[in-house]
């Protein structure tokens, strides 16, 4: 219909499947965050280290290039599980954390502040679908700078080193995907929960930063005061180190038993889901 023909008319065209509707949310969210120059600059910066690691792996397998660069292959750190754990540590905890801080708090809080939830929830999308859609925004973004380049580096190393290396180190690939996956799920849920608790993006950002920083500081204080290591339970990267140590099967200087770290992460996720279940409602009922 031409726009000048201003009549109300029915729609009799095809409809998208119900199961795909939640995908609309991350698509629009990505389009919105990508308009920010700060985000675009930071997102590009996130690929500096993967590119550097790619060069590193390439140099390992190109003696002529090494010689030209004046480097000795023996002195270069080997490309092994420790190398990948270190790479993923930077990508997940530093860059992934900052990316979450940049994008996460703005996902739910504006919808709550502007009363948009009734608009979503009166449509064929459930509260779970809404939360999954918003979480997918973060999951895909963080994945693109963590396990995706990590897996690419692993495949590059396997290609250059040969089938035997791939078969012998396939555990690293699983650790890259699983380790990053656990981090992504935890930090995304935490970001959504803090975003749902605060109605302003800045407040949610401060809140999320506070949870991470305050947890680390409070954990250190507890460790100092009570001469224990249980304070690391409040330190997210430390919890992940304990989990990753088991996944990568290399010493990462973890200071908590793996079972305790797994339990703490499960508790954080559970609490975040409980907050989302309470906050993501079309209308708050005052009883």
């Amino acid at each position: 219909m031409a726009v000048y023909d201003r009549r109300y008319r029915a729609y009799d065209g095809p409809l998208t499947p119900l199961s795909r509707r939640w995908r609309v949310l991350p698509r629009f969210a990505w389009a919105q965050v990508s308009r920010s120059r700060l985000f675009a600059a930071f997102f590009m910066l996130c690929f500096f280290w993967p590119i550097a690691a790619t060069v590193w792996i390439y140099l390992h397998h190109n003696l002529r290039a090494l010689a030209n660069a004046g480097l000795d292959a023996v002195k270069l750190a080997p490309v092994d599980a420790t190398f990948f754990a270190a790479f993923m540590g930077i990508q997940c905890f530093i860059l992934g954390g900052l990316l979450t801080l940049l994008v996460g708090p703005g996902l739910v809080s504006p919808d709550l502040a502007n009363g948009a939830l009734p608009l979503y929830l009166s449509r064929p999308i459930t509260r779970t679908g809404y939360a999954v859609g918003k979480m997918a925004t973060l999951v895909v973004l963080i994945s693109s700078i963590t396990w995706v380049p990590g897996l690419f580096l692993f495949l590059l190393q396997s290609w250059l080193e040969g089938w035997a290396w791939f078969a012998g180190h396939v555990r690293i690939a699983a650790a890259i995907v699983l380790g990053a996956g656990i981090w992504i799920v935890t930090i995304s849920l935490l970001a959504l929960a803090t975003s749902a608790m605060a109605r302003r993006k800045v407040v949610a950002q401060t809140f999320l930063l506070g949870v991470i920083v305050f947890g680390t500081v409070a954990g250190q204080a507890i460790n100092q005061m009570f001469d224990t290591s249980l304070g690391f339970l409040f330190n997210l990267p430390e919890l992940m180190h304990s989990v990753w140590e088991g996944l990568y099967a290399v010493p990462l200087d973890a200071r908590l038993p793996a079972w305790l770290a797994w339990s703490a992460l499960a508790t954080i996720c559970g609490l975040s889901i409980a907050v989302l279940a309470r906050k993501l409602r079309a209308f708050e009922v005052v009883k």
Binding site: V3, Y11, G13, N114, G115, A116, P118, L119, R123, V285
Partner: protein, 311 residues
């Protein structure tokens, strides 16, 4: 009409924290445009939210187009358009992206959603403003944007919660015109909740009046308008209550508006001269007698006068 095209309430009750908000609502709503009326706190919005699946009924059931509002929510919500009463928009995006996004969530493919978003914004009068972000819209423009997102996917059932709130007279007239056009297009059944009798009277052919969570009146305005009954407004001097009782004894329906003033509905068999006979018998003077059709305001006021609501 039941099933397709109707909203059925069967003993519907909703409680919040043990406090009854809606009680024993039983009605079958079949009109093209249904008005939900009632004073503040009567339960209009709670009823809308229950039909939208936001609240679970504590007792009874509600069905729309044959589907239970709790069971078939996903299928039903695809047919629903909702314009909330309060401010509701997505921050940081233009009106056209907002409406397009809502269309896509409702099931329109991206291209169709974009096309209909443009059309709908032109239709509601926001064509020139469609590339502006919603935060910069005036209250009236936000109301129109809310209407646009509610109709972009051409819903079968359209819920409008106080659509004329905060609108100046020209904007209100435009909103009413749009609601009437949507109604007359015959594609959507409209449920309009308002505390403004004029809005409901202008747009709706069926009305449900709520009072303290109960149905105070449910009727078809169209039938009321078409009915060949005699509506009278009578001014008397004397014991008007005795006069009303005597008139009701012969089959009239009476409502006391103010001391000495009554509204009466005369059945087919009763003539005006019968009223004069009763007045003479009761030694009451009839000072003035006007033919008057029962307006929605009269219906509403009568409903509010009843102690337990129901007329």
């Amino acid at each position: 009409m039941t099933g397709a095209g109707s909203i059925e309430l069967r003993g519907l009750g909703v409680r919040f924290g043990g406090r009854p908000i809606l009680q024993d609502l039983t009605a079958t709503l079949t009109g093209r445009a249904i008005g939900l009326l009632g004073p503040n706190g009567a339960g209009k919005t709670t009823l809308l939210h229950t039909l939208l699946g936001f609240h679970r009924p504590s007792e009874g059931s509600a069905r729309m187009r044959g589907e239970d509002v709790t069971g078939g929510a996903s299928r039903l919500s695809g047919m629903i358009g909702y314009m909330p009463e309060s401010d509701a928009f997505i921050a940081g995006i233009t009106a056209v992206r907002f409406v397009r996004m809502m269309g896509e969530i409702s099931g329109l493919p991206p291209e169709a959603a974009l096309e209909r978003a443009h059309e709908t914004l032109h239709y509601v009068g926001l064509g020139e403003a469609r590339y502006r972000t919603l935060e910069g819209f005036s209250l009236g423009m936000k109301q129109m944007a809310k209407l646009a997102q509610a109709i972009v996917h051409a819903p079968k059932i359209l819920f409008l919660d106080e659509p004329t709130n905060g609108l100046d007279p020209p904007a209100r007239a435009r909103m009413i015109r749009l609601v009437k056009e949507i109604r007359d297009a015959g594609q959507s059944q409209i449920v309009l909740s308002s505390h403004l009798l004029r809005d409901v009277e202008e747009c709706c052919d069926e009305v449900l009046v709520l009072k303290a969570g109960r149905i105070a009146f449910h009727g078809n305005l169209e039938e009321e308008r078409r009915a060949n009954r005699k509506f009278l407004q009578v001014e008397t001097r004397g014991d008007e209550r005795a006069f009303a009782a005597a008139a009701e004894a012969i089959g009239c329906t009476c409502a006391l508006i103010s001391p000495g003033r009554l509204k009466m509905i005369l059945p087919e068999a009763i003539e005006v001269r019968d009223l004069y006979k009763i007045a003479a018998a009761q030694q009451i003077q009839i000072r003035k007698l006007d033919y008057k059709r029962d307006s929605l305001q009269d219906i509403f006021l009568k409903a509010m006068e009843e102690p337990r609501g129901r007329l």
